[in-house]
Symmetry: C2
Subunit: 338 residues, 2 copies
């Protein structure tokens, strides 16, 4: 088969790769229905995160089970399934407490921008849908695999609850879906920090109640103003830079909650500053598996439509265009169809 391989900065190729096959009895092979390009794929694409050798790409996926190893019991060929970027056994102590992305046997696997995919620990990792989805439901199901699950974790980790004032820092796909999550969790005010008109519109569509275009210190000042000098209850940091993290912490009231869900690149926190900010801090790789059954249910019953974040759809062999569009921010998120 052909699949997506990153060779270096700005060099994405769709080229021959070996067909995936069952390697362990706990594996499954999927025929991909849809995959996509992740904001985190842009770190190596931009050369900020170095790679030593050509790397297969893609960690968001949904599709039909083609084949399973002899130990797989929970999914079977023909089922439509969704999984997360970390394979997890879903039985270890960390999984049982809802932190499947820190599973004691976790495996990161990233070669989903291809027609077929090997999924390790299939029983723990994959969740099946109630049936074969309609074509127009596939984008929303794909979104649950990472970008919605990550936004959902951002809202959950920042303890968004009914009546709360929430700020979302970052208007990428994760930030936009964190707004959707905060709306579902009953937040009273959801302030989206965004300076791009198309993203502002999507933010309002997902449930934002206010838009703040300012950034950095100006952004903090605006949040203070909007909250009568108190600060927000929950601030969801969906970028992963030093500036966005400091903006998030400084926008939060003492005793409030800051979540962060993007891998921080070169970020460091001053202990004394954090101490006197008095905030709660929680984040890390989103344990998407914890949320998948609920998110699939919400999509299946048409209560949410997270697939709206895909504003570019490409055939898989034009994957390089998807990277370019997201890098240049002409697209929010690119969906790939094999």
């Amino acid at each position: 088969m052909k699949g997506t391989v990153l060779h270096g900065a700005h060099d994405v190729r769709f080229e021959d790769r070996e067909d995936p096959r069952i390697e362990k009895p706990t594996d499954a092979i999927l025929r991909i229905a849809a995959a996509c390009v992740c904001g985190s794929d842009l770190w190596p694409y931009r050369g900020i995160q170095k790679i030593d050798q050509p790397v297969p790409m893609g960690h968001e996926y949904c599709g039909v089970v083609e084949e399973v190893g002899r130990d797989v019991k929970n999914v079977k060929p023909g089922q439509f399934v969704i999984g997360s970027f970390f394979a997890s056994d879903n039985t270890c102590p960390h999984c049982r407490l809802g932190y499947q992305s820190s599973c004691q046997h976790r495996e990161f696997f990233g070669s989903a921008q291809a027609p077929f995919l090997r999924v390790p620990l299939a029983d723990g990792t994959l969740v099946s849908t109630p049936g074969m989805p309609a074509e127009n439901t596939v984008p929303s199901l794909l979104a649950t695999s990472d970008v919605l699950g990550t936004g959902w974790f951002a809202a959950d980790a920042a303890e968004v609850k009914p009546g709360k004032t929430v700020v979302v820092v970052g208007d990428g796909a994760v930030g936009l879906l964190a707004i959707l999550a905060a709306r579902q969790m009953g937040a009273e005010r959801i302030i989206a920090m965004s300076r791009h008109e198309t993203r502002q519109k999507l933010a309002l569509g997902f449930g934002a109640t206010e838009i703040v275009a300012e950034r950095g210190d100006d952004g903090v000042a605006r949040i203070r103003e909007l909250t009568k000098g108190v600060g927000a209850d929950s601030v969801l940091e969906c970028v992963g830079t030093q500036e966005s993290m400091m903006q998030a912490i400084q926008s939060t009231r003492p005793g409030g909650h800051v979540s962060y869900v993007g891998v921080p690149h070169g970020m460091s926190l001053n202990g004394e500053q954090l101490f006197f900010s008095h905030v709660h801090l929680h984040g890390g790789p989103a344990p998407v598996r914890r949320y998948l059954p609920n998110l699939i249910e919400l999509v299946w019953t048409e209560q949410i439509n997270p697939g709206k974040v895909f504003d570019l759809v490409l055939p898989l062999d034009r994957v390089a265009e998807g990277y370019r569009a997201m890098d240049e921010r002409t697209a929010i998120k690119a969906l790939l169809r094999p």
Copy 2:
């Protein structure tokens, strides 16, 4: 009157100072029944935290109200009262949410190692006891003013609950009373990290179930071993150094809680490391005022005896010996009697 003044590193003097007087209508003047030396007083005493000029010292106190300003309504002359190191109005949005140490009108005041003390915002800051305490109850009441309240916040901020496995990093007075707090909150296992025999004994007396003498990486390895490779649910960091903080984070299970209650000195957190640790982090200046009514009740009804941390009692004019003993770790905590 005479009071305690720090003139420079290792130079504590008990010398003439102006008598405190009502400066604002919201002030109260206390006749101090007991004060003490805090672990945090040792930072400037050791010269690590620089001072520009002679500084009056002491921020833990209890005593009898001598005089109140004309706006004070909640306490009156003759009452025995306890307050915290941050004066707070107890009515602003931060106070109402339990973060009185981030009160919008907070004032830090530190001149309690003296016979008399001016307390700002007396109505919000001071809590009275049900009556005049017996002499032998005074040390425990004094402990509620900071060291117990801070240990209590450490346990609360790390979400100690029945059935949990708790680690306490630091065997100073705050760490020891954090053990007492964790015991009161129903923790199943309380692992005290201590290498000093007298402190280990006190730790066990306050409710620790296990002692770990190793530090740093060895300490982390021992906690991993004791928790079957999982890590602790709640780790209470009661030191404030880089090493103790990293030890705390690395001893915690993914999804577990780390609290930190000592002002961090030169500590910084690597964003990526924190991200993948998957812990919750919360701390800051302890909002002791939130806990005071409950802690006073527990002391008054003899359910707890936190006063045991005072292993040295000195008349106020020998305050310098108290600093020396704590600096040299020959005493855990020095109580001062005017």
